[in-house]
Subunit: 329 residues, 2 copies
């Protein structure tokens, strides 16, 4: 947080953000021209970055702490998908005048609590003003043993396809907020909204992926789309059985009352689960990891020769997805 | 450039930005969840980041290639100030609908030409849409030998203060564009505007700073302010002689017709020169480096015990700066 800041921005950085960088010597208290950082011995860096815009990527009236936490977590989900452990991040904020100190204090407090919980530290950034909506960019640095990053490319015919947690909750949560899904119980609605607002990056699974998986992605664009990315990058076909895709009780209740929502679950995105491809020989180790971490990991299909993504119903017939998977925005 | 992009954004990334990342294997063609990067043997990373907003940090009608080049160069100036060599960068763009493919193509072409010239490579980023003005964030990674980064802290009483190039041109160029400075020759105006629009990061000097300097900063907030940052971080006083501050012929012409502009030169910012503090014993090596690189390096003062920045006129009297140096925004 260096150049071209006016005094108000210097003050805000010193007050709200410098404490988040205090434990990292190479951040120099956010007061120097840049930060200095080295990977641990034998490791290399994995770098990912996301930008969110008020009114586009979040509604705008969410608690600031939740906006901060989600921005951090979607980046950590990308690190987990590469098999990396979180290390540090930079934050760039462009703020309209309407954002006051109380809002920013709550945002920074949420970020501080979440970085503590998730084991990552702020090391730099920038703060500017804008006449438009708030724009936040977070760039996260993770570490992985040299040469061990798990890519989208690498899936091989015969690999099994696994997915963590449950799929569709995030997309349903957004639609509950938009009142496109109604009639759910209060607790189901609250569960789905929480899943949309506060993703759980699968860091414990992620750091084990280099030893287990040939390929991985996080489920952000939608399960079908992200599997499609793996299939394309690997030059293979991903075949999944829709009935095997893990659903939460709340998502099952939603689909029970409107069956078209099954497709929403498969294509909706905002899951921040991990989908990965591993040889069958690793299935016992994956099962053991699931037990150990308490995170459900479900086999949903197989990799075969070919291309694209094939989703089969219970009779083995292909389900045609009307929207195979890019997120609306 | 991964999450939550719609098809148009995927296409734009593939068409305009993926070619800029083609030479860097760990960028994975901008198609994976993250990039992978390691510092060279014995080196560590220096990380800096800047955000610019249309209508705030640039006027808006500049050629897109110049906007891209300036954004890259201000970050490289920070790397140079730390003694680092450029290595890679990420780019996040939030674009309004009004920005069409032709604009973006020109922006990417400018970035591509400049990254080639300056020896750095795009490795990742994000592209989103915004209902507000365009917002760009660039995060640059440089390399420095482990433990050799040049900080703002480190200046010692007895050090000489040096500055590269000439000071004030950027601030004057902005004011020529804003028609606050008039009556200059066409060539003087063009020179100053170019200095404002296209900073020259002092990379050759920067990479030599670890062997020469105790402390350094780039001059972005204004010479007085950036020297103030060094003085504060180092716990010393910076004393400079105003008459020694190097001025271009165009800046001298502007000051000749309006003497108050001398203060603008000392406080205006946007110079992207390097100011650094070095022991007197290194003066011959600094002079040799200046000859070798063709970059003027001028001694403008000394570090002494105390605090703050003291600017002396030709009679040794203190000049009181009305605005010791934060940039307006």
């Amino acid at each position: 947080m260096q150049n071209k800041a006016n005094r108000n921005e210097f003050d805000r950085i010193a007050r709200y953000f410098a404490p988040l960088a205090a434990s990292f010597p190479g951040a120099f208290g956010l007061k120097d021209d840049a930060a200095v950082i080295s990977p641990s011995a034998g490791a290399e860096f994995v770098v990912t970055t996301d930008t969110i815009v008020a009114g586009v990527h979040y509604i705008g009236d969410e608690p600031p702490a939740l906006i901060a936490a989600k921005l951090l977590r979607v980046n950590l989900s990308d690190l987990a998908a590469m098999g990396a452990r979180p290390r540090a991040f930079t934050l760039n904020i462009a703020l309209p005048k309407a954002i006051d100190d109380a809002w920013l204090e709550a945002f920074a407090a949420g970020l501080g609590a979440d970085q503590e919980k998730l084991g990552i530290t702020l090391i730099g950034g920038d703060s500017v003003s804008t006449p438009g909506p708030a724009v936040f960019t977070l760039t996260a640095f993770g570490e992985v043993e040299q040469g061990k990053a798990v890519r989208r490319a690498g899936a091989r015919p015969g690999d099994l396809i696994f997915v963590s947690g449950s799929i569709g909750d995030g997309a349903f949560g957004l639609r509950v907020l938009q009142e496109q899904i109604e009639g759910l119980s209060e607790s189901d609605s609250a569960f789905l909204i929480d899943r949309y607002r506060l993703p759980q990056p699968r860091l414990d699974l992620g750091r084990n992926l280099p030893d287990l998986a040939h390929a991985a992605a996080d489920v952000s664009d939608g399960l079908a789309a992200d599997l499609g990315h793996i299939a394309l990058a690997s030059g293979v076909r991903a075949k999944i059985q829709a009935a095997k895709v893990p659903l939460s009780a709340a998502a099952r209740n939603a689909i029970a009352s409107r069956s078209a929502l099954l497709e929403t679950a498969l294509t909706g995105g905002d899951d921040y689960e991990l989908v990965f491809c591993a040889p069958a020989a690793n299935a016992p180790a994956i099962e053991a990891l699931s037990r150990e971490t308490g995170l459900p990991i479900t086999q949903i299909g197989e990799i075969e020769a070919g291309d694209g993504v094939s989703v089969l119903d219970q009779d083995g017939a292909s389900i045609i997805l009307s929207r195979p998977g890019f997120s609306h925005e």
